[in-house]
Amino acid sequence: MDVFLQTLVAGILKGGLYALIGIGMTLIMGVMGIINLAHGQLMMVAMYITYVLHLAGVDPYISLFVAMPALFLLGCLIQRFLLNPLLKVDTILPENQVLMTVGIGMVLTEIIRFIFKSDYKSVSTGYSNATFFLGNISFSIALGISFIIAIAFTVAMFFFLIKTDIGRSIRATAQDKDAAVLMGVNTGRITIITFGLGSGLVAAAGCLLAPVYYVFPDIGGPFTARAFIITILGGLGSTVGAIFGGVTLGLAESFGATYISMDYENIIGMTIFVLVLLFLPGGFKRLTKI
């Protein structure tokens, strides 16, 4: 029983972090219809910001307030100067924005490698490995906090999208870009803001992940893949779906590791991905209608 509960706790806590990584991607995908394949790499940049601030004695949770605006700005610049101009160019490949994000991801990785070298860096804090026990079940404090922050961001995003003007414009652009233009929405500006928001959210995930993991130029790739799975699981553009997607992936990986074998961690994620595409195209969003 302890093994089952501990696996459940580990899966849910990891899922919270995954959700935060996924929300940014699902937002970008919903509005622009493209997969941002530089998503994990943007998180990696945020982790290095956290690392540099950590060297200066700043707590990773405080560096949230630096990394998020910084990545928001970086995201806006990428959309404004690298992705939007591609819309105006005729090419044989319809999805050249996606290819562009692959290139951006590589450039980010190599720039970081150039500055920081291929060295493993750690952001170890007093609470990196702090735990409390409930019965025999261990709860990681760092992951617990990041879970709460992930939920808070999701709720905030949800109300932002429902209640504010910019949020409504983002949803309008996601639903029908041409109609949104006719209604007077500046869709160019909205895509820039959306990419910025998506980058800012994944920056938050980076700040929360840094103390419990390690920092390295190449760690972006696997997280891009996970964010993509979460996006498909949750449904495009659905923030609530991203929470479900993240927790589902976290739980699947944990239970797979305990009851099957950790060797198959990646296979389990991909199997769910294929099953959802086959039997529930549109993801959890289809079930909830949100």
């Binding site: 750690s122 390295f216 060797d263």
Partner: protein
Amino acid sequence: MSTGRKLVFAVFAVVLGLCIGSVVVAAETLKVGIVLPLTGEQAKFGEIEKRSFEMAAEEINGKGGVNGKKLELLFEDDTGKPDVGRSAVEKLISREKVPVLTGGYSSSVTAAATAVAQQFKVPFMVTTGSADKITESGYDYVFRINPPASEYPAAVVTFLEQVVKPKTAVILYENSLFGQSSSKSFEEDCQKLKIDVVAKEGYHKGAVDFKPLLTKVKSLNPDLVYMVSYVMDASLLMRQAKELDLNPKLFIGGGAGFTLPEFHKNAGDAAEYVFSAALWVETAPYPGAREYFDKYAKKYKEDTEYHGAEAYASLYVVADALKRAKTITPKDVRDALATTDMKTAFGPVKFVSYDKKTQQNKIPTFLVQWQKGSLETVWPKGVADKKFIFPVPKWNERK
């Protein structure tokens, strides 16, 4: 027309000049091709080895080189991928015409790279790549200074036999060629010692959360947890074992990541008392071992470890072979390598054949333990500089 012809002549002359130039340069230096992961996830190990190769080259060239010729090291980056390693070796052989190759870090890359060297009949003196099969393929152009992965835990085995006497063990390993090779042979060692292996679990490197795996280990309550991991997986395993209050009698790392300074930096106090197999320690009774360690620390302001020592020794072995070779052709250098018998900072080097292995160096191994943030040699007794701390205190009994 005439200007065109002049241009052709000019180009021809330049090309000819370059050819002669390169021949002259080639006559002055001896090229040594070295394949290492200089970028990618294993770049840390590549860096230590590259620096050590360069240190050895400086020393050899400073003393007048080999038979009056200077060594020229040609590094190629294998990025940790077997296909890149293959083409790196092809490039060194066909374009640079190197008479001898060395380096080779990860087992998967080395297995691919040595196959190419064998095919072109150019000797490859493997520095690290440790999967057993590399010297079990009957390649007569492949030598290895590093012991095979199955022999890493030799000192661990005697320590378990004489001191710990565990009854049950769990083996955790990264599902790479090195991890599989090491874990399989340790399982066989356990059978010989009558230790019951209650679980043997692989994982994919770079995982975020090992807690489900470690929870399973905790429920099995083994005496010994043996891990074959690279540096950051190693530190996450130990940190999360601490979080889960997993208390076997001892944790042992099977070399690779557990001896690097980064392991302790990332794992912090969770690294304390962890044992690891090591192929070399600076206190080993080899001529030049301590000098190499001190020189490296002075030059790069960082500690080196066994990977560096074997790279450093590799170049001395190659230089020795080049010195004794009748002519500088791959064939003669290979014959010279086969009769190597010398003492290096990494230990005595002699390529012998035994069991299924050919041209394999045999050296004793050591057991190290992290004590108060520094790596101490604790076994075998003859070379130990500190006494081992065993039994290890439980997590909640530590300060």
